[in-house]
Symmetry: C2
Subunit: 404 residues, 2 copies
Amino acid sequence: MHNPVTLTEIRAARDLLARITRTTPLTWSRPLTDQVGGEVWFKCENLQRAGSFKVRGAYVRIHNLPEHERARGVVAASAGNHAQGVALAATLHDVPSTVFMPEGAPLPKVAATESYGAQVCFAGTTVDDALIAARDYAERTGAAFIHPFDHPDVIAGQGTIALEILEQCPEVNTVLVGLGGGGLLAGVATVFSALRPETRVIGVQAGAATSWLPSLAAGEPVSIAGMATMADGIAVGRPGELPFEIVRECGVEVRTVSEEAISRALLLLLERNKLVVEPAGAVGVAAILESVERLKPPVVAVLSGGNVDPLLLLRLIRHGLSSAGRFLSLRLRVPDRPGALARLLLEIAAVDANVVDVEHGRMAPNLAIGEVEVALTVETRGPSHAATVLKRLREAEYRIESAQ
Amino acid sequence: MHNPVTLTEIRAARDLLARITRTTPLTWSRPLTDQVGGEVWFKCENLQRAGSFKVRGAYVRIHNLPEHERARGVVAASAGNHAQGVALAATLHDVPSTVFMPEGAPLPKVAATESYGAQVCFAGTTVDDALIAARDYAERTGAAFIHPFDHPDVIAGQGTIALEILEQCPEVNTVLVGLGGGGLLAGVATVFSALRPETRVIGVQAGAATSWLPSLAAGEPVSIAGMATMADGIAVGRPGELPFEIVRECGVEVRTVSEEAISRALLLLLERNKLVVEPAGAVGVAAILESVERLKPPVVAVLSGGNVDPLLLLRLIRHGLSSAGRFLSLRLRVPDRPGALARLLLEIAAVDANVVDVEHGRMAPNLAIGEVEVALTVETRGPSHAATVLKRLREAEYRIESAQ
């Protein structure tokens, strides 16, 4: 197969986007630089307009529609970044847009898509249902269907990120890119194949939702089911036809990361880099955290988007604190006597840990008369400090039912 | 009084910092641009090394110490950004640093300060206690005491931010800067007085902790007590002597913002700009949100730091969702019959709101036999959607005990 997306087209897309999208900053990571033993940078597409790289491809796609097609408006199906990217790109062209979302799509994403000017319609309960409704709408009304990844113009738009990376870090040797349908990876791989083939481009999927590994093994896109990952933005059941061919032709490597690593990556980005990134946008960072071999520096990880529901953010911070060993949840039993809880809390204070939550109950199963159950959440400095807390309590002969 | 900090010194500080600190990005805000009716930008010092602007002043101060003083190390007292700024600045000079913190300082700040190379010592329970211990340590050991704001070198370092703002947005007409001891504001005011006096510089304090308004009224720094603000980074009980004189001489205006506006600002920055900012770093944005007159654009608000404890972040997100009307907490009573809770939840689903939390109890005071109390947390699209939920429940004759 001949790659239908050329460097010339990606450069033309870059010129087109010059006054439309932001040249997002490259920001340095000290802890990952220490880990890798050479410079690690993040390409901050979470700071892109509409919160992700998606506006790049959508803008190029809509721009290249013939005038008479554009006049009939555009339609897309998405519960995420593509929705906002299409809405903004269409509005910038003064083109009406309709976005189909499944019922139950996160309310902030609905509100954001509307605020960028799209009409939001609900259909079914999955993105696939919404997709059918969107295609049906396109047929009925003549609106142009904007696919999230399987189109050369979309891939050319996303590829502009790679041109920016090459300007910002010309000597880059490793690039990590999140991988769902494959539009972003295909664009990035095309640029590096043409301009700096010695750079290793790695596509990263969530291990709990990888359609690319079986597809690459089979030599063609295959569909998978059951995608239980927090990285919903890249939980795509089947690689795009065109991205698949391009990624295969460029010989791009694909790897997966655990949910645990994604959480740790999100917390690192929040705490150290002060950046809000969505789970799908953090898989490249997760891959650095989990890498068993040395990645050749300079390394650039693309933070593809930042559109995370605040409610998910709440859970992520909580989960991240736990998995970094910073939250210790304990269940233990104490005598039902005045002062018993106070004594327990003094033990914890003695090893300098903060109690953030206490629950005290008499309803646990198998509780002896004269015993109460206490559930504590304690903030610690990390795993070794958490171990110190547990040791202290065991030495004081507390009976710990569970600790995590 | 003659301003002891000159533009020449601030320019020299800029040259000194060129390879040390980041030229942090200026990022555009669409919602505030819409509100103000002209461009609004954020100066992202939360993306500065060590998470805030403090490293600028600390670096210049330590650099300018005579060699023999530097050799004895430096000492500071802080539970926040100054601690990390001094630790990093000292380590960059290969100078040992000691930071005194009050017992109970947030563990992540302790860990971060240590990770930048400082030795952390605990003293007393307030920053004032730590300050006494630090001064005492300086006398005993000959270490140089690094004041967080009341020194010309520190002010010169912080002023370099204003030079960057003028390069990034030369036509800026309004600058909003958070105000604690006054080091940052004094530096910024000095630059604008010299280079662009037509720019209006506004210092912003938390209304719950303003020492500057009474000080300006009295014509000299006065001390206040009782500082119940979430913006702990600028809860300084008394303006610095030198910053006070400079701010007064430059005729800088000082205003205050509510805690509510700070929460809304933090949520806006998180959700729309994907930026983690600490409460003290968001007061400029809060001032734009609360401004009753039109601020002349272009407006630049300095996001002075991003070092927020993840636990505080959890509370902020939760609080922000509530105050944006996105979280509706309800308490109501339902009959203690099978299906009663299900019917209640169906009513809420019918108006398209997400239930995020349900508590169901039989222990509330004054509960009739045959009644249970239900506490619900519901996610809505905003205040009008929340009103729709309440209306629907009232129409279905639910007895709502409280709603907020």
